[in-house]
């Protein structure tokens, strides 16, 4: 039999109350010394950020601005550059005889 909504709420409150009353755990000086021993074993840190750390810190911060700039530049380029479609390119080539073009390239009259 499924529990009713009211039953679920009662059980939830009882479980949440039990969850919050977990036994107190304290750590002594020995634990602290053990952690510091390990930390000292790792050696001193350097304040100089390596490239990866800098990348991680700033990549997402500047990502929206970079994406917007790319979009604007893309738009400008699209407006300014005269794109030829594949069909137009093919037509331009097919409309010119091959031997004529070769003569032109070789400079023959």
């Amino acid at each position: 039999m499924n529990l009713k909504k009211g039953d679920i709420e009662k059980v939830q409150q009882a479980l949440a109350s039990a969850y919050k009353t977990r036994e107190k755990i304290e750590v002594g000086d020995a634990w602290e010394n053990r952690v510091m021993f390990q930390i000292r074993g790792l050696g001193p840190l350097t304040s100089r950020l390596d490239f990866t750390a800098l990348f991680e810190r700033y990549f997402w911060r500047f990502a929206p601005a970079a994406a917007l700039t790319l979009l604007v530049l893309g738009g400008v380029l699209y407006q300014q550059i005269d794109f030829l479609s594949d069909c137009e390119m093919a037509r331009a080539f097919l409309g010119t005889r091959f031997d004529d073009s070769l003569f032109q390239i070789l400079g023959a009259s």
């Binding site: 939830q12 969850y19 810190r57």
Partner: protein, 197 residues
């Protein structure tokens, strides 16, 4: 009397190579870290996990954003370390699955039949409640377990839990919804067992 150095000042000293200054942070935040950890992992694992948390914090200190709060940053590391613990534990199933007895089924029945939850406050009943909780959480995935503890039992918002776990808010909300359904099924099954008897 001299004022205690601020966290940012201590962190600056550590980053300049003063390893011992980390002891000040350790001393200042060990109680808080233990409080966060002890709720989420078995008591026998708390010390080791707390140690792991502080070592991770030390190693990650060069990436700490000085504009943010150290305490909040540390709690994020603690939460994720607890989550990693459960993922590993579930993979290897080192911690035995807890089982329930007739006493626990009776506890559930008494909670449901009581007028209010305050009646279920005796020490024995608290123990039974803890065991039922451990039994139910053991049967959830590590992800569901984390969101259940944070949202359902501690009352965090989905956004707070998402921030601490590094997940999206939607992910946390969906998981909480599913996990609540699973918990309801588990408790219903437990009740059915009692009713069959």
């Amino acid at each position: 009397m001299l004022d205690a150095p601020r966290d940012s000042e201590i962190i600056r000293r550590i980053l300049q190579g003063d390893v011992n200054a980390f002891g000040l942070l350790l001393n200042r935040y060990k109680g808080y870290a233990l409080m966060v950890i002890k709720k989420r992992v078995p008591a026998t694992e708390v010390e080791d996990i707390a140690q792991e948390v502080f070592i991770k914090a030390y190693q990650s200190l060069p990436r700490f954003d000085p504009e943010s709060h150290f305490k909040k940053w540390l709690s994020t590391i603690a939460m994720r370390t607890c989550y990693d613990y459960w993922r590993k534990a579930y993979r290897t199933r080192e911690s035995p699955m807890s089982a329930l007895s007739e006493r626990h089924e009776k506890w559930l029945e008494s909670v449901i039949s009581s007028e209010s939850t305050t009646s279920a406050n005796s020490k024995d009943q608290q123990e039974d409640a803890k065991e039922v909780l451990a039994w139910a959480l053991d049967r959830l995935s590590p992800e569901d377990r984390m969101v259940m503890e944070m949202v359902y039992l501690e009352g965090m918002t989905g956004r707070e839990a998402a921030e601490l776990l590094g997940w999206s808010t939607t992910n946390v909300k969906v998981r909480t919804f599913r996990a609540r359904g699973k918990l309801r099924k588990l408790l219903s099954k437990l009740r059915e067992r009692e009713e069959v008897k």
